[in-house]
Every structure is written in C-alpha cells, then in structure tokens.
C-alpha cells in the first residue's frame, strides 16, 4: 500500500495521532447529580456544583469510573489502581469554575492498543497512550447575536473519556478506521452512545508531515471534529497546507487550528497570544481515585463479547474472510442481526457467504434508500434467513430473490409467502425446461443458424427468451446446460 503524497522533490508521509473525546453514557454528571439528557432547554440541568457556586464540592460518580475502566479493558489497556484528578486552568465563558477537572500525570487507564482491518485482508495495530476522565465544558453559541455569546451550561460537568493515540496513523483513511473502531468498541461496551452528530464522540487531530524515515515534523492540532468525513477532509487539507509551506522553504509553526466545515479549510485559532499554560495541579477537593484489583476483576466480568473476539469467532465458525468478519462486527446491530439470521436455520451455517452478502449489500442498500437503520428493518433476521435458504436450495434464483426481498421490505410478508403466492419457485425440472427450449429454438430458426455459424454471443438471446417464457423462474444453470446441448446437437 502506498501511503505517501507526491511532492516536488520527494514524497511526503503524514504522521497522525488522535485525541478522542467520548461522552460517558450515564444518567448524571461526573461530579454532580444533574441530568445528562441531550437537547433539554438551556441551563435547566445545572446544579450549583456545575455552575461553580462558592463552597460547592464535587462528589465522583461511581458508575462513570466503572465505565472508564470497562473502556480501558476494551482498549486492551492497563488499568491504573491509582489515579489523580487535576485542575486544568483556563478562562472561558462556558467554564464557570475557571478550571476543568481532568487527569494529568496519573490517568485512570494507561497504554493499550486497537486493531484496524483493511480491505485487502491486512491489519494494523494503533497504540493507545492513555484514557483519562474529565469534565465537559458548557456550550457557547456565537452566531446568534453580533455582540453577544450565549452560554448554556447543561453540558458543563458531563463525564468525558479522553482517549489519546500514539502518532501511529499514516493516512486519512486509517484515521477514519481508527475512530470507527473506537466507536464500535465503545458501543459494544455500551459506555458511550457513539453519536457523533450530538457531539457524544468527537476528536482532535494532531498532524505533521515528514520525508519518510525522517524524525517527526512540527505538528498542528485541529480541534473538535465531529464526523469521520470532516476528520478526513481536515487531515487532507492540513497535510497539503504543511507540504506547501515546507516545499516553498518555510517552516511549520506549532499551532492549534479550527476546521471550517463549509469551506473545507483549516485556520489557526486567533486567540493564541497566550501560549497554553494550564498550570495543572492536583484538585484539593478530590482525593486520589483508588481501584482495587478485585473491583477491576468484577468490572471485567461484566464485559460483553467485543468486536475483535466476535470477529475471530465468525472467521473460525463460518470460515469467512477477515474483512467480511470485520464489516459484520463493526456494529453490534449488524453482528446481532447476522447471528440471528444464520442461526434461524441449521443449514445456513454452510452458506455464511450468501448470508453476509445479502445483509451487507442487498439489505443495506434497501435500508439506505429508505433512510432506515438496521434495527428498524422491516425484514427480520429470521425472514432474511429464510430467503437465503430458498436461494441456497435453488428454490429461487438470486435475481428473483432481489425482487422477493424488495417485496418483503414493503409488504412485511415472509419470503416463503411471497414465493408461493406469486408462484416464483424456480423451475429446475429438466423436462419442463427442455419443453421451453424446444419452443424457443423452433420459433427462431434464423438465430439458430447464425449461432451455429459461429455467433456464440447469441446464446444469451436464447437464455433471455427462455427466461421470458418462464417468467425468470428457470434455474439458470440447468437452462444454460440444456440449451447448449440442444443447440450443439443441431450442428
């Protein structure tokens, strides 16, 4: 695979690391009992702690701690028995405390790794540096009034997990695959809802470019990207910008950038006269967070099967390719659907490839067309299983199955019902097919002559005619075989 960008004098390589902010799926905030519900009226879910009223003290949410540990295990990472909450100090209108409670030197989760799978069957490990717990800030609206910023503190204090990767990523695609994989792990664990539109999952991207083999170049950080598409766009634009500067003899200034989603460009944040100086120090309001091996063990027991384990199980049980298995397991809905479909009939186990294809291409494209999610699919996994069974036993052809699936999708009937009602059962009876072929040959003497004269392509014409007469129900393989035999006999 070529991951390099062509330059004027030499090729360039991107070096990318991600900081992912994942909102913990919890009822209440990290240090207060306010609700975390999305979309409520402004400032309606703000306790005196979240508003930083004098004298208020934070009390940690036990569940959020457990979710961070769970996620750490899912990232194959080391769980730290001892971690510390620090204050990260800065002034901003949506940060009433004047500091964010975060973890600096001693995060709750240490080094780990996740694997991404490529289409060509290869995979790559991306190392995780750490995961720590921190508070989210409030939300500022800048575009409602020319001279005012409006602030809503509902999000203030909601628990976030910040997941930091090593700069192991080399292309925008890998960055996209990495965040997809993290999202998938979080959703299997149910520790984050993974909703990027609502901002439950967002990323900062660190990127630099270098001549392959050289030391890392100076990096820039692009803040707050909330879709995989934007992450890729921002990386592409920023890499190009850096290469242009370097090739014209300039040097990269380490900077924090914002990505404009409508222009597709990055620009430096204006407010940079003050180089970030967060003056971290341990929060005197909070004792260190200690977790015993016993507690970690208990949390581990609650962890469900994760995408990678499931992937290997699928490869093993159904002899499917690494890529097929990774597509099926990327999303828990999909792997559940596949499981239910393939287990709906004992014989389907030997036809896993057909099951996979009918889910990931035919069913998915119908769902897409109708703007539906898999969990709202009008076709149940059992019914899809039944359809595949009809295909695998040659009762219906693949072509007719497509119409049947569409019918199932709109009418809600089962595959069997539709095939019976419409009489779509494939004709595999030799005698019946022979009769039709004889008819076709008899009606088209000129075509037969041309075919025998060497126009091999005309075979398709005869197949088409025979299919027309059987309303597409003739078993294509048998039809082809008999047709060839009969025509050649004429010779």
């Amino acid at each position: 695979m070529n991951n390099l960008i062509k330059g004027e004098k030499h090729d360039w390589e991107m070096v990318i690391g991600l900081e992912i902010h994942a909102q913990v799926k919890s009822n209440s905030k990290l240090f207060s009992s306010s609700s975390t519900k999305f979309g409520s009226s402004p400032n309606s879910q703000v306790s005196l702690v979240d508003a930083a009223m004098p004298g208020m003290l934070p009390v940690i949410n036990k569940y959020c701690v457990e979710q961070a540990v769970k996620t750490g295990v899912g990232l194959n990472a080391k769980i730290n028995n001892y971690s510390v909450f620090d204050r990260k100090n800065y002034f901003y209108a949506d940060l009433p405390q004047g500091y964010q409670i975060s973890q600096y030197k001693y995060p709750i989760v240490g080094e780990g790794k996740v694997t991404i799978d490529f289409k060509d069957g290869t995979s790559k490990d991306i190392r995780i540096v750490r995961l720590h717990l921190e508070q989210d800030a409030g939300k500022s609206l800048h575009d409602q009034n020319p001279s005012k910023t409006y602030v809503d503190l509902n999000r203030s204090g909601v628990a976030l997990m910040e997941i930091v990767s090593e700069p192991d990523i080399r292309t925008p695609d890998e960055a996209g695959m990495f965040i997809s994989k993290i999202r998938s792990i979080l959703m299997y664990l149910d520790t984050c809802d993974g909703n990027m539109q609502e901002g439950s999952l967002r990323a900062d991207v660190n990127i630099s470019v270098r001549k392959p083999g050289d030391e890392y170049g100076t990096r820039c950080e692009i803040k707050n990207l909330n879709s995989i598409k934007f992450i890729k766009q921002a990386i592409n634009y920023e890499a190009k910008r850096q290469i242009e500067i370097l090739e014209s003899g300039g040097s990269i200034e380490q900077n924090t950038m914002l990505f404009n989603t409508s222009t597709g460009k990055t620009r430096p944040m204006r407010n940079k006269e003050e180089a970030h100086d967060y003056r971290y120090f341990p929060d005197p309001d909070l004792l260190p967070l200690e977790i015993s091996e016993e507690e970690i063990g208990k949390i581990k027991l609650s962890i469900p099967e994760l995408p990678d384990e499931l992937k290997y199980k699928f490869i093993e049980t159904y002899k499917m390719s690494n890529y097929d298995a990774s597509v099926l397991t990327a999303d828990k809905q999909t792997s559940d659907y596949f499981n239910d479909a393939i287990n709906s009939d004992a014989e389907l186990k030997n036809h896993s490839k057909i099951v996979v294809n009918w889910i990931t291409s035919e069913l998915f494209s119908l769902l897409n067309k109708n703007n539906l999610e898999l969990n709202n699919s009008p076709v149940s996994p059992e019914n899809l299983g039944q359809l595949v069974k009809l295909i695998s036993t040659n009762e219906i052809s693949g072509k007719i199955a497509k119409d049947v699936l569409e019918d199932m999708f709109t009418s809600g009937k089962t595959a069997r019902q539709i095939v019976d009602e419409k009489g779509l059962k494939q004709v595999s009876d030799q005698g019946e097919i022979e009769k039709v072929i004889d008819e076709v040959i008899a009606e088209n003497p000129k075509m037969v002559e041309q075919y025998l004269g060497g126009k091999d392509k005309l075979l398709g014409f005869f197949v088409g005619q025979a299919m027309k007469l059987t309303k597409g129900k003739a078993n294509p393989k048998i039809l082809n075989d008999i047709l060839r035999q009969k025509l050649n006999k004429k010779n």
Partner: protein, 95 residues
C-alpha cells in the same frame, strides 16, 4: 526560583488581574518571600518519594449514578447580569 517583573505580569494575565506598577512591585516582594520560606523544604531529602496529592488518608467517597431533575434555569440565571431565553448572555468571545 525568583519572581521577576515578567513572571508577575504573566501570572496576572493568566489570572485576568490587572496590576499597576506599584502593585506589581508589592506582589513581587510578597511572592518571593513566600517562595523563600517554602524553599526551606528543599533541605528535606525527597529522593524516591512519590509526590503527595492529598494529605488525608480517607478514601474518595463515590455516589451512585442517579440524576436529580431540578429544572435549575431560574435559580442558575438569577445573578446573571445579562440573559436571554434561558441562556447567559456574555460579551462576544469568538476564537
């Protein structure tokens, strides 16, 4: 460590506090004497001693994940100098 004019200006800026020359001089003096006093601790050998985050020996109390519906907006906005439709309104900050 010594606090000089530059350091005091930086600390003041980070804290969003405006100091005039006289105040700066006073703070430089005050902070330096505090630091000098604390620096006596350098006499203690702290090799191989982990930094202490907290002097209490009790453990971090935790709460269950139960949310309390408060509908707080009236109370929270009560002291706001400016507000609009449930939002705090502050001078424009755009980065």
């Amino acid at each position: 460590m010594k606090i000089d004019k530059n350091t005091i200006n930086k600390i003041a800026r980070l804290s969003r506090i405006k100091l005039d020359d006289k105040e700066s001089e006073d703070y430089i003096k005050d902070l330096n004497s505090i630091l000098d006093w604390v620096e006596q601790l350098n006499e203690v050998n702290t090799e191989n001693v982990e930094p202490l985050s907290n002097i209490s020996s009790s453990i971090l109390p935790k709460r269950e994940d139960v949310s309390k519906d408060t509908n707080s907006s009236d109370e929270i906005l009560e002291n706001a100098p400016d507000k609009l439709e449930g939002f705090f309104a502050v001078p424009k900050v755009v980065e």
